[in-house]
């Protein structure tokens, strides 16, 4: 967080820079127009998702009598169908439980691991740090088959625990890596003072380091929560019964029936499933951006 604020502050001082050299018409063509196209393309699918959600079925595919870009008689029928006639609320609940549990578990493990690697500096901590980095590069696509075998043998197949225990495989490396960066920014002197005053390592961690690393914890937590919410391949492989599915899997496997696609319900499902992460994101944009860029920035 610290470096983000300093860079923005530094930029504020240089606001303007050489921009006065450019004239408005030129800026419209080189900056505003391309930016507008980018924003339009990046946002259009969401608009389309939302507008389809509220379209009654007769308007949905009737492009002759209704403009497809607008909705004449908005309806909540699709959302009502989703909430009362499908298992959608259950999927939402599952996703929340699984994401929160996996995030909490990962954060807990990551805080200790990051502190140990970054601050205890025991023999071999560098190697462990490198191992954590490499673990982050192992994609779920090559783990899901052996994990499916394991999950089955452990008797976790088709339970939420299967996902709560496997999500940390990609969350812990990420969170540890991120928190290592935050711990690094906390001055050693603070810890040394505490050590001289007779504090134990545990007290240093809980009373000094963690309070100072709260922005990092929030960033890592938000990001981990979003990653678990978005996870698909494990949830698709390890869960079979409808009542244990997560939103992405449920929408794709249960709402798509035969050849007749109920686009209204599908889009409503996609919209409602996206809203929680989008709302969370809108509250913590800065944390989110800093955790994403923290990975690549010193």
């Amino acid at each position: 967080m610290a470096d983000v604020t300093t860079t923005t502050a530094a930029r504020a001082g240089d606001e303007g820079g050489m921009n006065y050299l450019e004239r408005l018409p030129r800026r419209v063509v080189t900056v505003y127009l391309p930016l507008a196209i980018f924003v339009f393309v990046l946002l259009f699918p969401f608009y389309w998702m939302a507008i389809t959600t509220f379209k009654p079925n007769e308007e949905l595919t009737d492009y002759k009598n209704y403009s497809p870009f607008w909705v004449v008689n908005p309806t909540l029928a699709h959302i009502r169908y989703l909430l009362f006639e499908t298992s959608y609320p259950g999927w939402l609940l599952n996703t929340v439980i699984i994401s929160v549990a996996a995030t909490f578990l990962s954060l807990l493990a990551s805080v200790f691991a990051a502190y140990a690697i970054e601050r205890l500096r025991f023999k071999g901590s560098r190697g462990v740090g490198l191992a954590i980095f490499l673990a982050y590069l192992v994609p779920p696509s090559i783990l899901f088959i052996p994990l499916a075998v394991m999950v089955f043998k452990l008797g976790l197949y088709d339970t939420r625990f299967a996902l709560i225990l496997t999500y940390p495989t990609f969350l812990i490396p990420f969170c540890t890596w991120l928190l290592m960066g935050y711990f690094r920014s906390i001055p050693y002197e603070l810890e040394e003072c505490a050590l001289i005053d007779g504090a134990t390592r545990w007290q240093i961690l809980t009373r000094i380091v963690l309070p100072l690393a709260v922005p990092g914890l929030i960033s890592a937590g938000i990001f981990a929560f979003t990653l678990s919410w978005n996870e698909f391949i494990y949830a698709l492989t390890f869960i079979q019964s409808s009542e244990n599915k997560t939103v992405p899997v449920g929408v794709l496997t249960e709402l798509v029936r035969s050849d007749v696609y109920e686009w209204g319900a599908l889009m409503a499902g996609a919209l409602l499933g996206s809203l929680p992460v989008v709302i969370l994101y809108s509250f913590f944009v800065e944390h989110y951006v800093s955790s994403m860029t923290g990975a690549v920035k010193e």
Binding site: P68, G273, V285, A295
Partner: protein, 314 residues
């Protein structure tokens, strides 16, 4: 995992808590324990198990026996597998190049002095925040064979006469899934590169301008060299995630039409889980590892001078 391998020697048995308090190694290993256990059990072990499964004929519901390289031998003569390798390389190359080009462009645009800059940055990131499967379902509807909004608009303008068969034709399907992947990947590239751009001091541009540099030269000789380390990291990740992509294809085409969009990950799922042939699926997944290793080695050696991977500072 070299460091964590010594976890067995953790001196937890030491009865005196104080001795543990003073031993940095002991305390360090104790602190590492939760993360190490989770990662060793659910990441390192499955990685090994996956390699082992690739040498067996295990099926769902039936334990397998060691069959040596039979799975790989079969895949070697399997044209669908080679098609999926080709598709994966094509998909990764084209999508990564587009994501890099467009992402860098967007980052440069967002680095300009703009009103509501923070707002723009926030909404630009949305495609990356929303669950891939859910946005892919929106793309599925946008790519609908009959009621595609794209076809409708193009017909209105008069560019085409009939609706485009986005996902039914091999070439179109490939282009469509790549477009959806690029759509989702641009924000990540743009926002991370933007963070890199913001660390470049404006005085460098002023100095270059005074020396008579054109805007292209300022980009080529100031921006680009200073951005290279971040570009390398971002693109390594981007390539890695594109190469192992699964969700988008699974939602949009399931590998069809006629396997034209099958990636190695989706083929592995189809053979391993849907088809129940765990050994063969694992073998396909293992075949992805050399490509991934190449990307990781590139990241490691290409970025040797930035030692952040090891938790050190520059």
């Amino acid at each position: 995992m070299a460091g964590t391998a010594t976890i067995g020697s953790t001196r937890r048995s030491v009865s005196l808590l104080e001795r543990l308090e003073n031993s940095r190694l002991g305390l360090g290993l104790l602190f590492l324990l939760p993360a190490a256990v989770l990662l060793l059990v659910f990441l390192t072990y499955p990685l090994g198990l996956g390699v082992w499964l690739g040498f067996t004929d295990e099926r769902i519901g039936r334990p397998g026996i060691y069959i040596g390289l039979e799975n790989y031998g079969f895949l070697w003569h399997d044209s669908v597998f080679w098609l999926s390798v080709f598709n994966t390389v094509l998909y990764t190359t084209v999508a990564s190049v587009l994501k890099f080009g467009l992402g860098l462009w967007l980052a440069l645009l967002l680095n300009e002095r703009l009103p509501f800059k923070a707002f723009f940055r926030a909404i630009v990131l949305l495609p990356w925040v929303v669950p891939t499967v859910l946005s892919a379902i929106a793309f599925w509807w946008i790519y609908d064979a009959q009621f595609s909004i794209l076809s409708y608009v193009l017909q209105k303008i008069g560019l085409i006469t009939g609706p485009i068969n986005f996902l039914g034709d091999p070439t179109n399907a490939r282009a469509s899934v790549i477009a959806a992947n690029v759509w989702r990947g641009i924000p990540f590239v743009a926002i991370t590169l933007l963070a890199g751009l913001q660390t470049i001091s404006p005085s460098l541009y002023e100095a270059a301008t005074l020396d008579g540099a054109t805007s292209w030269q300022r980009f080529r000789f100031v921006t680009f060299p200073l951005l290279t380390p971040i570009i390398a990291i971002v693109m390594t990740f981007s390539v890695l995630f594109t190469f192992t992509d699964f969700q988008l294809i699974y939602v949009l085409t399931r590998g069809g039409p006629v396997n034209a969009t099958h990636l190695m990950a989706t083929l592995s799922f189809q053979r391993g889980i849907s088809g129940g042939n765990l050994g063969e699926g694992a073998a396909i997944a293992v075949a992805m590892i050399p490509f991934l290793l190449a990307a990781i080695l590139f990241s490691y050696f290409g970025l040797q001078r930035r030692r952040w991977q090891q938790g050190g500072r520059d």
